[in-house]
Amino acid sequence: MKVGVIVFPGSNCDRDMYHVLTDVFKLDAEYFWHEKGLPKNIDAVILPGGFSYGDRLRSGAIAAHSPIINDVRKMAEKGIPILGVCNGFQILVEAGLLPGALLKNTSLNFMCRWTSLIVENNKTPFTNKLKLHQKIPIPIANGEGRYYVDELTLKKLKKNNQIVFRYSEVVNGSTDRIAGVCNEDGNVVGMMPHPERATESAINPIDNKPSSLIFESLIKTIGVKN
């Protein structure tokens, strides 16, 4: 079982994600440069955080047109689990694989702080080991992290159970406190907070277990390392 970690020019959480997948959860992971294709034997894809193309134009806007996104799109259609974190989420939204848009935080500043999430959908490949409404202590680090959807789309998201995580408090002005969403099929998940920064007790001052369950859910979905 292999997880592909996509690297764009300007990705900067790729190595953190790789470390967590391989060293903490003993998964087989491989980096894929954005200009390459994805091989068929990939069981899950993660788009890590960072500043692809230096956030030029709009965060995620240029990376969403990378050659590798065509393969990501095909895999999404096949139902393969895909997770976008922070800039990865922004890219998935810009690529049209997830609904909504990510706007500048209401503070108009980059925000790096700890908060907590509430699990709203525990049926996705990345949340199926979490309990509904479970709290996850986790850090955010973004400047354009305010999730926005119009009312009609919000209704649709609620109806289809596409809201995966909500913030437990008002953090950045996100619509309905949404922190993470999935596509209609539930296999593509995007979230602004950083689970890879919260799975180890050494760097998580509060509780590292809930974030670990995000990765353990993935393991449950795709199976352990060969």
Binding site: P9, G10, D16, V20, G49, F51, G54, F110, I203
Partner: protein
């Protein structure tokens, strides 16, 4: 932007002919104070640079320390004061970029950024507020984009920085010892310029920084592009992994002039280069401009033909440009051509080594009566005063600043900003603590003792995490060195730092001198900044939750040392008095004792006493942990003093220890044996911060109210004015 008349004579006589215009530009850049250290270099030699962990190699722009198991850390400090005072966003951002490339030059990956920021009085001064806000955004936008965590620093406001800014940036790198670039070159090697294109930004930047800031010179400020820098970091590290780099240097102050001449001089080679081969942003740039442009995000690499082909492939992957601009020659000439035409042909040692100066020094007249105290107005309500003190810009929480910096990326940050020192985990299971500190208020009153105090404070901060100091970075920032009184303060500070470094055997692994920090209203206060790197072999002290009934113990004496204190200056608007003096023996005993009791696992938290004294230090613990504490000031060790002096004296070598009551006896046994001054002075519990003297209440504050004003006041000030 030219040489002094005697320097021009010297150049002419040494080369035996009239220098060309390009030669004048090259030499003016390289002989500027900023690049040549001509005023300070003779004296800097007094600092101890060697130590058991120090790895010295020729041509490094950063200090290298061996942290065991085949790993090294690198560290460097820089400032970007003049540019930041004119264009704070770009100035601060490119300050980050420059120091990061110094770390990269050694072949190590940058893993942390620190910044020290100083501005005028933001309560009164709109300009200072604008500078502050934009410098913070500049650092955030650059560091965050690179994915290098900004994990610490300091922010201070003082009228002496009005219409000016001090932006100091330190960076730490980490890597394998075997991957360090061993700078070497042989005849025929290629000289490659990699990264951003050379434009007209930052022309004459180093000379601009070597003069008093009297006019705004925006074209001397460089333009930041963190995205290109990120690509360069990854490309260089890939090239390093494949052993493709013979020698490397970043382009900073003085641009190509400086990088080419210093590389050639350090490696005892000659370099022949063609300005036509430099990839430029504009098509009509002349050789002079190309040689002194300080455009950012550029690296100079020496490699051979075969390896260059592989470097080209790496650059192609990252879509960055690399150009062969010249080759290594025998001899020692720096030969700059434009096509076939020679623009400059100078001996590299002549360019890279300006004649060092012996500046005269004289004790400043203002120091004569500075230690006299005036009669202070009585304070009627200390609780009210304390509330105002906690919300004052220098004391208030800096969360508005570090909350804008990604301090988690890289997932090494085990102790986060907002404590005494941040701590990073290293790949060999050890931990690195680091902190930078300065105190211009103390240094103004006593340049020697003030500088020593900064050194000790930075040490105290890393000691609070359980780390042993292993290396020091110094950044000496003063006014115009041609003024003997200013030069005296520089020498005094340097001598103080040297004495402390030698006594504690902490080598100086890197440093920087920034002079001419002046505006039309005068020079800045002496502002040496000290960065300390501390190593923890096993586990750092993770601050634990403080519970009701936990005890507060102080180590160290509180003395009548009020000069330069926040209390005197902010509350009483008085500059003067006796500034805190570090007693070396006491300092060492206290430091070792604290490290010892942290290792014995007896403590929940340790916090040092510094700005704002004991009163502020205890309040900070209470506000951070959201718990009250009742403190008996009569139990504080030291001479008998009035309540306000016990509360707000900034005496050094003091530590506050928090522990469970059950560990108190064990702790006291150790402290007794260690011959340090100590006393249990308080107990944690309920919702109020209380300071009593002889059972009389002096201060009584609600923690939640104090915490709210302390956390929010800086943001309120910046956002709403």
């Amino acid at each position: 932007m030219s040489l002094e008349p005697q320097e021009l004579d010297e150049l002419t006589s040494k080369i035996g002919r009239k220098p060309t215009s390009t030669e004048l530009q090259i030499v003016a850049a390289e002989w500027s104070e900023h690049c040549s250290y001509k005023s300070s270099k003779k004296h800097l030699k007094m600092l101890p640079m060697k130590g058991p962990l120090v790895i010295s190699e020729k041509g490094y722009d950063s200090g290298v320390l061996d942290v065991g198991d085949g790993y090294v850390i690198t560290a460097h400090i820089e400032s970007h004061n003049h540019p930041s005072a004119v264009e704070p966003y770009g100035g601060a951002a490119t300050g980050v970029g420059g120091v990061i490339r110094d770390i990269l030059s050694a072949g190590t990956r940058p893993i942390a950024i620190f910044d020290g920021l100083r501005f005028g009085d933001i309560e009164k001064d709109q300009q200072a507020r604008w500078l502050f806000k934009n410098a913070v955004t500049g650092i955030a936008d650059y560091g965050n984009c690179l994915g290098i965590p900004t994990i610490g620093g300091e922010v201070e406001f003082d009228e002496c920085y009005s219409n000016y800014a001090l932006v100091d940036v330190a960076a730490i790198g980490f890597g394998k010892k075997k991957n360090l670039i061993k700078n070497h070159a042989k005849k025929g090697d290629l000289v490659v310029l990699l990264g951003g294109s050379t434009g007209r930004d930052g022309i004459g930047g180093s000379q601009f920084a070597s003069d008093s800031l009297e006019s705004e010179n925006r074209s001397a400020v460089q333009i930041p592009d963190p995205f290109i820098e990120k690509l360069i970091i990854e490309a260089i590290l890939e090239a390093r992994n494949q052993n493709l780099i013979h020698a490397m240097k970043d382009l900073g102050g003085g641009g190509l002039s400086c990088a080419v001449s210093e590389t050639a001089d350090a490696l005892s080679i000659g370099i022949e280069m063609d300005v036509n081969k430099v990839h430029t942003r504009e098509s009509d740039m002349n050789p002079d401009e190309i040689m002194v442009s300080e455009s950012q995000e550029r690296m100079l690499i020496v490699t051979d033909n075969d390896k260059f082909k592989k470097i080209q492939e790496i650059c192609k992957k990252f879509h960055i440009t690399c150009s062969v601009i010249g080759k290594v020659t025998s001899g020692n000439m720096m030969h700059v051509k434009k096509g076939k035409k020679t623009c400059a042909n100078l001996p590299t040692d002549l360019v890279a080594n300006a004649t060092l100066l012996d500046r005269p020094s004289k004790k400043p007249a203002y120091l004569e009566k500075i230690e006299d105290e005036k009669k202070l107005a009585p304070i009627t309500d200390y609780s009210k005063m304390m509330m105002m003190f906690l919300s004052s810009p220098n004391i208030a929480s800096k969360i508005w600043v570090y909350g804008q910096y990604d301090h988690e990326v890289g997932i090494r940050t085990v102790v986060k900003p907002g404590t005494d020192a941040s701590v990073l985990r290293l790949d060999n299971g050890k931990f690195l603590a680091a902190k930078i500190d300065g105190n211009p208020k103390h240094c103004y009153i006593n340049p020697r003792e003030g500088a020593i105090g900064c050194f000790e404070e930075a040490c105290r901060n890393v000691v609070c995490t359980g780390a042993t100091p292993i290396g020091m970075l110094d950044h000496l920032q003063f006014g115009n060195p041609e003024d003997p009184e200013i030069f005296w303060t520089f020498l005094e500070s340097l001598k103080g730092l040297t004495d402390f470094a030698k006594y504690f055997e902490i080598p100086c692994v890197g440093g920087k001198v920034s002079l001419y920090n002046e505006t039309p209203s005068g020079p800045i206060k002496p502002t040496p900044i000290i960065g300390i790197l501390g190593l923890i072999d096993k586990t750092p002290l993770y601050p634990q939750k403080i519970a009701s009934g936990d005890c507060l113990v102080i180590i160290g004496n509180t003395k009548n040392e009020m000069g330069g204190s926040e209390y005197f200056e902010y509350i009483h608007k008085f500059i003067g008095g006796i500034c805190p003096v570090v007693n070396f023996e006491e300092s060492k005993a206290n430091m070792n004792t604290v490290l010892n009791v942290i290792k014995k696992n007896l403590l929940k938290a340790v916090h040092d006493c510094s700005k704002g004294g004991l009163g502020v230090a205890v309040s900070e613990i209470c506000m951070t942990h959201q718990i009250g504490c009742t403190v008996s000031l009569d139990k504080v060790p030291g001479p008998k003093l009035d309540a306000d002096r016990i509360l707000f004296s900034e005496s050094h070598s003091r530590y506050l220890l928090v522990l469970q009551k059950k560990n108190l006896k064990k702790l006291e046994e150790i402290l007794k044996k260690s011959h340090v001054s100590y006393h249990m002075i308080g107990v944690f519990g309920d919702e109020n911060i209380r300071f009593n003297l002889d059972r009389k209440s002096i201060i009584d504050l609600r923690v939640d109210k104090a915490q709210k004003t302390w956390s929010n006041s800086l943001r309120e000030l910046v956002v709403h004015g």
